[in-house]
Assembly symmetry: C2
Homo-oligomer: 258 residues x 2
């Protein structure tokens, strides 16, 4: 059986779509994606909470509990761990691993757009590892995402790997020269965030990127389609898409791993 870690082997690239509820994860599984991530923006917004402020722990675990029923590998975005207390983060990763999750994302961005002290973030990563020895820990370096301290990207990545991370995620990195530099210093899998800038995505695989995730993009595209459909009807205009039928969606609720 292929493991989640094996999907990040050198020479391969995992395209990881991010879901926000059971239906989106089930539909992505049905579309043939072997592994599904979650989007913390989507999970928070779906539940009326802001993203990145550590307020969606209950909702995040509840969603993980649903998604592990699917015939897909599940990796869970836990923002910054929902606590600055390493023991709490270890408890959370142990809980997720026990549910059957294959991985997590843990970010060094903090509320109000600040960056964590890298030594403290390394402690959180070590705690996450101590709670779940086999979980794939994808350590997010938010220097480009928050557009600050970008010169620390490599040192943070290496520090987080030394603390027990399996891979590094640098959302917002869109400069190919900086990407090549970073890849040249790393043996561990590097994850980038998809953006139209990186189209076509196969080019990232050629460069050596081993995971590309969609972040909140699918969630945002979904909301956009819903609103565009409603406002088209209001304007007496044709609706913009031909979505799946009621029966097709109802079927997704039964797509449960035995």
């Amino acid at each position: 059986m292929t493991t989640f870690r094996a999907l990040h082997a050198p020479g391969s690239m995992l395209l990881l779509p991010n879901a926000w509820d059971y239906a989106s994860a089930a539909a992505l599984t049905a579309a043939g994606f072997p592994a599904i991530g979650t989007t913390s923006l989507g999970v928070a917004a779906a539940n009326g909470l802001p993203d990145g402020e550590g307020r969606a722990r209950v909702e995040t675990v509840a969603l993980a509990r649903l998604l592990v029923r699917l015939p897909a590998m599940i990796t869970v975005d836990i923002e910054a761990g929902f606590s600055e207390d390493p023991n709490e983060v270890a408890t959370l990763t142990a809980e997720l691993a026990a549910l059957g999750a294959a991985g997590i994302n843990l970010e060094d961005g903090r509320p109000a757009g600040t960056l964590a002290d890298p030594a403290r973030q390394a402690d959180l990563i070590a705690a996450a590892r101590s709670g779940a020895p086999d979980l794939f820990i994808n350590a997010r370096v938010d220097t480009f995402w928050l557009n600050q301290a970008t010169s620390e990207t490599q040192s943070r990545a290496h520090r987080y790997l030394a603390a027990g991370a399996d891979g590094i995620f640098v959302p917002g990195l869109t400069d190919e020269n900086l990407l090549r530099d970073l890849l040249s210093t790393m043996d561990a899998p590097l994850n980038l965030l998809y953006s139209p800038h990186w189209h076509p995505v196969d080019h990232l695989a050629e460069l050596g990127v081993r995971r590309v995730s969609t972040g909140s993009l699918l969630f945002r595209a979904a909301l956009d389609a819903a609103i565009s459909t409603a406002t088209a009807i209001r304007a007496n205009a044709p609706i913009p898409s031909n979505p799946p039928s009621y029966a097709e969606i109802q079927h997704l609720a039964t797509l449960i791993h035995l």
Copy 2:
């Protein structure tokens, strides 16, 4: 202040979009819709449950609790009431009214595609009314939806109105002559389900339809957009839409009624 009931006044037509989570309801509110319904298919599927089997009571109430924070009137699809016990249905409508919901949908379709006995359904509607004197009760007649006993549509509608319903919802009705017949016998608001067949929707207002709802359409369009985006990226193709930004979606979580 306009009440939800007033939006169904003779000569007016309420276009009611249906949401499945906080984000979709908030985005529809931000798009200017004064009232938002829920879609039981969406709520069930988002939570890994089948629709129409009475299994999503907890999730339905939890969502209502979030949506009443929005600056919009909220009407909640409660399937068939999640119980055959009228006392349970009265308890549910009382709970929803206390939360601040403006209305409910209550259907006479039952699991496995059967229709409820109309006398028993009238008892459930009377119970829903007894639990919540001011709630707008939209009684769904599923004869066309389930394609059976369509000749009973008018008699069911009148029976449900006599039992305390405020309006009648006949999803699946797409024959204009049958629609005119039904409208000619009813003073109460009639709700139809949007379908491309009824495009442009203003024509339904001219005929005298006083509510058009979107059912699961927006949810299905949303899922379709998410999957189309993910599979386009996988195929190295351009993504099909230009969705709202991270910041715009994050803002929705703060769109909370004071």
